[in-house]
């Protein structure tokens, strides 16, 4: 059903609701006037509790062991009214395409390994177990390294450690558990940057290992010995055991006020595919917009239309050509322990559109209008409840 048709079908119901509301208000208003005996109608709930702490009645102190939450100065239903206004403001762009800003690490540095320092002992020795990427794509090697240090006199001093045992453990799929052993070395080879720097390194290609062919999530478990003490550390990683989608070509156009990038691709396995992409100015570094969309795709040559919402680009006021980067995504499984990630590491330049060729219109979708309608209904119900 189109939005217009939906509006037409709802029109009679809306008329009924409006008339009914008037009747109910009239009936209840009469009751209140009669019951209070003073003939003064009560203030509508929506304005019954004026804001401001000074106007609020004094509250009894909470009983022992109890605490109180309070939004200072907030009248009843204030939160929901505010949420409605918030939603109206924040949904001018769709949730699947919005402004990309330099602080959005999760989109701009989307494949960095997530790593933190961990304590080894109570003498201040720290360990860092790092990796070359968050996701390892089909055919790519994965490098992981582990180092320890202490901070003395404000300076980091590396501490020698020994990896007594290391194993890849499968953490998803039908055959979870230890898969194969690894060797960590500090010899300046096989991914190790410098021999003798106390950083122990290992490297392997996940998609080449038969033991990992039926899974997509694993971790390296490393048993570390340092100054006679031993600890175990883990390094999670995600990998693609096989390619599932290959991008063949990209094209672009402005359609319905938005920038549409057509991604022609060979789909190697049918399924629901989620696509991520970022849009930059012609310098390739100034972020403008991001998009995330999913499509059910059958196997074979298919096209996915990635939409960068027009108002996002219009509001950025940056003319093209634009650069599309960070094109990647995942094949979603109903049992998505086995989601398979894919990527397209090359960038793509669009035609030289002007920003004002894109639409300035706010997102107008049934999801938005229905949510706003739902908010309004709930607020109306709470206000009718009265103070």
């Amino acid at each position: 059903m189109t939005a217009a048709a939906r509006r037409r079908s709802l029109a009679p119901a809306l008329v009924i609701v409006v008339i009914a509301g008037a009747v109910v208000v009239w009936l209840l208003r009469g009751r209140d006037q009669r019951d209070d005996g003073r003939g003064s109608p009560p203030a509508p709930a929506s304005v019954a509790a004026p804001s401001g702490p000074a106007a609020a009645p004094p509250r009894a102190p909470p009983p022992p062991g109890m605490r109180q939450v309070e939004a200072p100065g907030a009248p009843p239903v204030a939160r929901l009214k505010r949420e409605l206004e918030d939603y109206k403001k924040s949904s001018i762009y769709p949730h699947w395409s919005y402004p990309l800003t330099p602080d959005m690490s999760f989109l701009l540095r989307w494949n960095d390994a997530v790593t933190g320092d961990l304590p080894f002992d109570e003498a201040g020795t720290m360990v860092r177990f790092d990796g070359s990427a968050g996701r390892v794509f089909a055919g790519e090697p994965y490098t992981a390294w582990i180092e320890a240090w202490r901070t003395e006199g404000g300076k980091k001093r590396s501490v020698p450690l020994r990896v007594t045992r290391a194993v890849v453990e499968v953490t998803s799929g039908p055959a979870s558990g230890e898969a194969f052993e690894l060797t960590f070395k500090d010899d300046g080879a096989s991914g190790d940057v410098q021999a003798g720097d106390f950083i122990q390194t290992t490297r392997f290609v996940p998609s080449e290992r038969d033991e990992l062919s039926r899974t997509t999530q694993a971790r390296i478990v490393a048993y570390v010995e340092l100054a006679g003490d031993a600890r175990m550390f883990v390094r999670d990683f995600v990998f693609a055991p096989r390619p599932v989608l290959e991008v063949v070509a990209l094209r672009d156009e402005v359609r319905d006020g938005s920038l549409v990038v057509h991604v022609d691709c060979d789909v190697l396995e049918a399924g629901v595919y989620t696509f991520y992409a970022n849009l930059f100015a012609s310098d390739g570094t100034t972020p403008i917009a991001t998009t995330k969309l999913s499509f059910p795709l059958a196997a074979g040559r298919r096209t996915a239309d990635l939409v960068f919402f027009g108002k996002v680009i219009q509001d950025a006021a940056i003319d093209g050509p634009y650069v599309v980067k960070d094109l990647h995504g995942l094949k979603r499984e109903a049992d998505d322990e086995l989601d398979v990630w894919w990527n397209h590491p090359r960038s793509y330049q669009t035609a030289a559109y002007r920003a004002d060729q894109l639409s300035d219109a706010e997102w107008d979708d049934p999801e938005r209008t229905e949510k706003i309608s739902n908010f309004e209904r709930v607020i109306r119900e709470l206000e009718q409840r009265g103070p």
Partner: protein
Amino acid sequence: MRVALALVFALSVTAVAAPAEAANYILHFQGRSQSGWKTDSLGARMTLANTSGTTWINKTFAFNGNARIVSTETDSTTNTNSVNYAIRTFCGTGTGNTCIIHAYSTGCARAKKAIDNIRNGVGGTANTLSGLLYIEGSGCADGGTDLAELATGKWTGWLAKLLGQQEAVDKDLTRSSMRTTFSYIHDQVGVNFWRVDGYLDVCKKLMGLFKICGGSYIAGTDDGVVPWASSGGFDTQTSRTSLCTVSAADEKDTSKNVSSKYPKHRTDTYYVNCNGTSIADGASWDHFGVPDMAEAILEADIRDGSALYAHWTWSDASGEAVCTSSTNCDNAFFNTNNNDFGTKYADGYSTGAANVDAFTSQTFGTTGSTTSCAGRCGTNPGGSYCSCAASSATKCSDYSAQQCAYVNQ
């Protein structure tokens, strides 16, 4: 008569205007170690928001909070206790329902995972969830926790004292897993995901000698189990000492996303300060006490802007004296009443601890002895993210500045 007429008329029109059984729901998704919304023996914790006199209905779900994030507990479209089923049913477009979600701890990741699956048509028909109004998250572990990385190591035994035995979901609760494997769940909630958390630590005394505190093993400020980098909704694991990126006002500015946070993730600075305290009375919370406060927020939201809650802490009933010299800070913790999350809560008005040992512990002492702190306010195991500066000569100032008194509150 007029009232009766009004009711009959209103009911009849409602039946015409909205789908049958359309209603307003508050969904509650529990966390790790919980099979339902409240699991303590007394049934007193995690009291649901009082919805009486409103059109709102509380809904809780019996799923295993220890199950992996990818599981029927999260994703099933047919299991009526699944998070996915719940959100489809009570928030879905076409149902006529509206919903608010309160997600606690691991429940935050389950809710976001289910929402992403539903929006993208994974494992079922796609739905835009137009009934979902907003989400309140308490102690959210959807950014992972350092403890999950330690829980697999030699310290498993220690941490089990704090968290209970290792569970399947721990493999998903590492920072890497939550932010990489599940990176796709964070960016399409589509509505405000308000977040609340506190800074009280979660501690336990071991062997009558020293105590361990979860916060000592977590970078930055935390609630004893989850770092603020996670519970605050930040988009990297970088340690945080504020729940806000810039300011309380910035968190409320819905004309844009909060910088360095996942889209629409915001600290609920209408109720909570950026330093993890209540705006109403300055209280703070540990990981196990914060969901009650969030329930009160929801109650305040749908009722009169104010609500009461029981202030639970996993700690000693007695507070420790504020540090006055280098030798009297932060006595060891003792709590013998354990029946929840592997230990028992002191609830703030019942006795939670048998005693507080008289061991004095210098804030600059090493851990593991009767003269050490071994907790949040000592020379911490890592040296780089402890509360008290190891090189500082003014330990009492550290103690005060880092609010160490709350460790044993």
